[in-house]
């Protein structure tokens, strides 16, 4: 009954007035950010990192985690009521959620989304509690060769899960790996790719890169269409779903939760892919596929459950292996490092209160969201009426201050500007930035593990295929890559991953 003891420790950590407050603050901010289009959790977390400098590690992680999954909730509210996804992962929710609202069932759609998310949050919390410790224990047996192969595998999976051309995604990944090497080489102290710029000798900042590409790049793209947004807000009717509705949404909710939990762990997966896949699955197995897109309640329950589950399980690789599965997790890792904690398999033993505290806070946070969200719907809807022309300068200023205070040098702001241009160009060229960011973070780690593995094996490259775990991971990577480029799979992948933008 270790799990119960451990969760007990977690709840004891969270249930202090202070941590409850930070959790509440996090989910509230997260919902706010989720509601506001153009402000994603990534940007929010980067901006809010300086807020956490003065907090202890547990409180800061609880708050940042709250922002992340709170944003999944907030995004769906606006998706249902005004057909405007506040968050990329709630794009699918607009399909049926807004149709339900149009047919006078806005309240029911909101309640379905909230219940689906809550259910998924509860299950995902337990799944993390059950699977993370054995994974961390396994990770303790990993040597450098295993870590190297694991990262190769992770990068390949992130390529397979990205949109568009596979070759471009591989290119972006390698580009990211190279960018990650900018700075002083740890082993030999040689400056690489620094062009003699002293600020580059510490490498580039992940926050500046992510904010430039996702924050600024997105703003510039949004400003292309200068037309004012107009929308009609649907009236909210009775919130409570009937017993009949509950019966109808239960199975989709369960399927969405498990699919989302699985996809959340994969690198490059996370909430967006989870919600798309869950929707596709429901549509495929539904007895009434023609109702999808016209207000099918399953089309709200499954993706909402999936995106929340995916958001939460994406903490697993970060907490157990120290490897981020998406850019948001990369920022979480920086937050932990700032706090003096090296993420990896040791966290669970050295800082059990942190590990189990985060998990317990997810459950509490989800409960808060359920209670908070439904009565406050009116307030959130008001917030969306803030015009974009007021919003975007605020985001820019916050981004500048955030990046400046994380890195303590104006150079980081220039880096962000540079990546802003690059991010915009990448959008025009249809190059997916996500594999690049993962490569950027993994680059230096991969090099270190590779060097150590080769040193131990005295230069024998076959070490990566001789060690059984490492070999298995490489086979998985190879098979994934092969499957991705097979023509038939490519076609279904295109259909499954189309972005409706």
């Amino acid at each position: 009954m270790d799990l119960i003891n451990n969760l007990g420790l977690g709840f004891a950590t969270v249930l202090t007035p202070e941590n409850l407050m930070f959790s509440f603050f996090g989910v509230l901010l997260g919902t706010l950010i989720g509601v506001l289009p153009g402000l994603g959790p990534l940007v929010a977390i980067a901006v809010l990192l300086p807020f956490t400098f003065g907090l202890d590690p547990v409180s800061s992680m609880i708050m940042l985690a709250g922002i992340f999954y709170g944003a999944q909730y907030g995004g769906s509210t606006t998706a249902i009521l005004i057909n405007l996804p506040g968050e990329a992962s709630s794009i699918v929710t607009t399909l049926d959620g807004h149709q339900m609202a149009k047919r006078g069932m806005a309240g029911k759609a909101l309640a379905t989304a909230a219940i689906g998310s809550f259910f998924a949050g509860c299950v995902a919390t337990i799944l993390i509690g059950v699977f993370a410790p054995p994974l961390a224990a396994l990770a303790f047996r990993f040597g450098p060769a295993e870590y190297f192969s694991l990262m190769v595998c992770g990068l390949v999976v992130s390529v397979a899960l990205s949109n568009g051309s596979v070759l471009k995604a591989v290119g972006m990944m390698v580009l990211g790996l190279i960018l990650g090497l900018v700075g002083t080489d740890v082993q030999y102290g040689v400056h690489r790719f620094t062009f003699g710029v002293s600020e580059l000798s510490d490498g580039m900042s992940v926050a500046a890169m992510a904010m430039g590409i996702f924050g600024l790049g997105e703003i510039i793209r949004n400003l292309e269409n200068t037309g004012e947004r107009r929308f009609s807000v649907s009236k909210i009717t009775s919130l409570m779903p009937t017993r009949e509705d509950m019966k109808q949404i239960f199975a989709p909710m369960v399927r969405g939760t498990f699919l989302g939990s699985f996809l959340g762990v994969l690198p490059g997966g996370g909430a967006l892919l989870a919600s798309f896949s869950a929707y596709a699955l429901e549509k495929k197995i539904a007895r009434n596929p023609e109702e999808f897109g016209a207000g099918a309640i399953q089309g709200v329950a499954a993706p909402e459950a999936a995106n929340n589950a995916g958001a939460q399980t994406s903490f697993i690789p970060m907490l157990t292996l120290g490897i981020p599965s998406n850019p948001v997790m990369a920022l979480m890792i920086s937050a932990l490092i700032i706090q003096g904690i090296e993420p990896g398999p040791a966290v669970i033993n050295d800082h059990p209160e942190l590990f189990w505290g985060i998990i317990a806070s997810m459950w509490i946070g989800n409960l808060m969201l359920l209670v908070l969200n439904l009565p406050l719907v009116g307030l959130w809807v008001k917030l969306v009426s803030i015009p974009y022309k007021v919003l975007f300068p605020i985001v820019i200023v916050f981004a500048c201050i955030g990046v400046f205070s994380i890195n303590n040098t104006p150079f980081a702001i220039f880096t962000m500007a540079g990546f802003g241009v690059f991010g915009y160009v990448l959008r025009k060229l249809e190059c997916e930035p996500a594999p690049m960011i993962l490569g950027f973070i993994l680059g230096p780690m991969m090099e270190g593990h590779m060097q150590r593995a080769l040193l131990i094996s005295r230069g024998d490259v076959s070490v990566f295929v001789r060690e059984p775990i490492s070999a298995t991971l490489l086979v998985v990577a190879a098979v994934t890559l092969l499957i991705t480029i097979l023509p038939t799979v490519r076609k279904t992948r295109e259909v499954a991953l189309v972005d409706d933008e």
Partner: protein, 147 residues
């Protein structure tokens, strides 16, 4: 119309250029051996791989997909980047308040039909709000103004 510099060709050329640049920059750096990889080992392998990917991507782009690169919206691009750079330039020299004010003013020009009044009001409000939030409430070590 036959579009020579399509999306795919341009991305291929970009990969090739970065890969080639990486190889050139790493020329003097010790490559080492597999038994003792030097600081140039990993970057050289990656740069070569990226250049190769770039060449294949360019070739594929020339053969199949000729989708043109959509036009860039220069006005928001230039103004937003300008605003951020001005902030970076000013924040150490003049302090937070003037940096926010000027950066906001520049950024708002990215959206046409912005009146002068709302522009100034937003810039002033943001300067005050951020000073209160970041400097007074959060104690971030940033000077408000240096003159």
């Amino acid at each position: 119309m036959r579009q020579l510099l399509s999306k795919d060709v341009a991305s291929g050329l970009m990969f090739t250029a970065v890969g080639a640049l990486g190889l050139i920059l790493m020329m003097g750096v010790d490559f080492g051996t597999t038994a003792r990889p030097g600081p140039g080992f990993f970057p050289v392998v990656l740069s070569a791989l990226l250049a190769l990917i770039g060449v294949v991507q360019t070739a594929l782009g020339l053969i199949q997909n000729r989708e043109a690169i959509p036009p860039m919206a220069l006005r928001p691009l230039v103004l937003i980047i300008c605003s951020v750079c001005v902030f970076a330039f000013c924040v150490g020299r003049f302090g937070l308040v003037p940096s926010i004010f000027v950066a906001t003013m520049i950024a708002t020009y990215a959206q046409p039909d912005y009146g002068m009044r709302p522009r100034v009001i937003l810039a002033a409000a943001l300067s005050i709000f951020c000073s209160l939030l970041f400097v007074y409430a959060l104690n971030l070590p940033i000077a408000l103004w240096t003159f």
